[in-house]
Amino acid sequence: MSHSSPEVLRTGVQSPHEQIALVDLLDRLLGAGVVLAGDITISIAGIDLVEVKLHALIMSVREDMAGGRR
């Protein structure tokens, strides 16, 4: 199973901005970034983010696969 050239996937589209995979985006926008306490007192951590992500992304993955985008 060895290849003559190293197998590195360089995924990303040729547009000015990368279309970042939703799973990567949500990891960062829900988990990282500057955290300033807003006035809207919903604590993001209070929502089960794993559940939210799991549902959202299973749907997204299914659509991607159906559309042949993978």
Binding site: M1, S2, H3, P6, E7, V8, L9, R10, T11, G12, P16, H17, E18, I20, A21, L22, V23, D24, L25, L26, D27, R28, L29, L30, G31, A32, G33, V34, V35, L36, A37, G38, D39, I40, T41, I42, I44, G46, I47, E51, V52, K53, L54, H55, A56, L57, I58, M59, S60, V61, D64, M65, R70
Partner: protein
């Protein structure tokens, strides 16, 4: 009467307000700057019927809504990052009005300056590593025929388990080595939790989900380093993405 709130996308500095002309945020409204003490928050106006206390928790569980908002939020971040140093905020940071924005900029001033200093002139790259699925033995893992003794069957099963565990340990060591070598080359690094294959559809096990902060001019170098690592570790599949805005590195130092 529809009440509105102020949605914060990012913090920046050193630009004039017209620099964000043409950047459109959630709801199709143009974003604007709220400036205070040398910093500027990039904000937009949102409807509290959608983003307020009652609606937000429900909407965050609506898959289509979450994706739409994340993409719109990210579009603002990416456009801003083309024009100015950008410290991206988390999704759904909403205050009641611009006075609230200035209050946050004041309270978090020093930490925000440090975050902006850290990411200025730099971009985030993602490097992931996957191990290949372990092949089961040719004979099949649980089948045994009448000619195979119980002892022989158990020995074979133990050998297969040991093989799987060895492969997993090797894959983990490779991931650590890849991360260590990347970390020594870049400005900053973080290991994010590996992603579940149910979320990504990937094959094999994700052994590394690394985020790396790299000087803008050194993106090509990073890709070369990863290509060399792929050659050094042929059993691992490496995936590079970037350059992205520095989501994972614009964090506030908390006490």
């Amino acid at each position: 009467m529809n009440e509105s709130g102020t949605y914060l996308y990012a913090v920046t500095r050193g630009i004039s307000p017209d620099r964000v002309d043409g950047i459109v945020g959630l709801g199709g409204d143009r974003v604007r700057l709220v400036e205070h003490q040398g910093l500027a928050a990039v904000v937009g106006t949102v409807d509290l019927a959608e983003f307020g206390d009652d609606a937000l928790p429900k909407n965050l569980e609506d898959l289509a809504w979450l994706e739409r908002v994340a993409r719109a939020h990210d579009a603002v971040i990416q456009q801003l990052a083309d024009r100015a140093v950008t410290a991206p905020l988390r999704l759904a940071t909403i205050v009641f009005d611009d006075a609230g924005v200035r209050e946050r900029l004041e309270t978090w001033h020093d930490g925000l300056v440090l975050a902006l200093d850290r990411v200025e002139g730099r971009r985030e790259w993602s490097v992931k590593a996957y191990s290949e699925p372990v092949q089961e033995s040719q004979e099949g893992s649980t089948r045994s025929d009448s000619t195979e003794s119980g002892t022989s069957y158990l020995k074979r099963r133990r050998a297969e388990t040991a093989h799987r565990e060895d492969a997993a340990q090797t894959a983990a060591r490779v991931a650590d080595e890849v991360h260590t070598r990347l970390a020594s080359f870049v400005v900053a690094s973080r290991r994010l939790p590996p992603q579940d294959h149910r979320l990504t559809g990937h094959e094999g096990t994700m052994t590394l989900n690394g985020a790396y902060l790299v000087d803008e001019a050194r993106g090509d170098e990073l890709q070369s380093v990863v290509a060399n690592l792929a050659a050094d570790f042929p059993g691992a599949r490496l995936e590079v993405n970037g350059p992205w805005p520095p989501y994972s590195f614009a964090t506030l130092e908390t006490e």
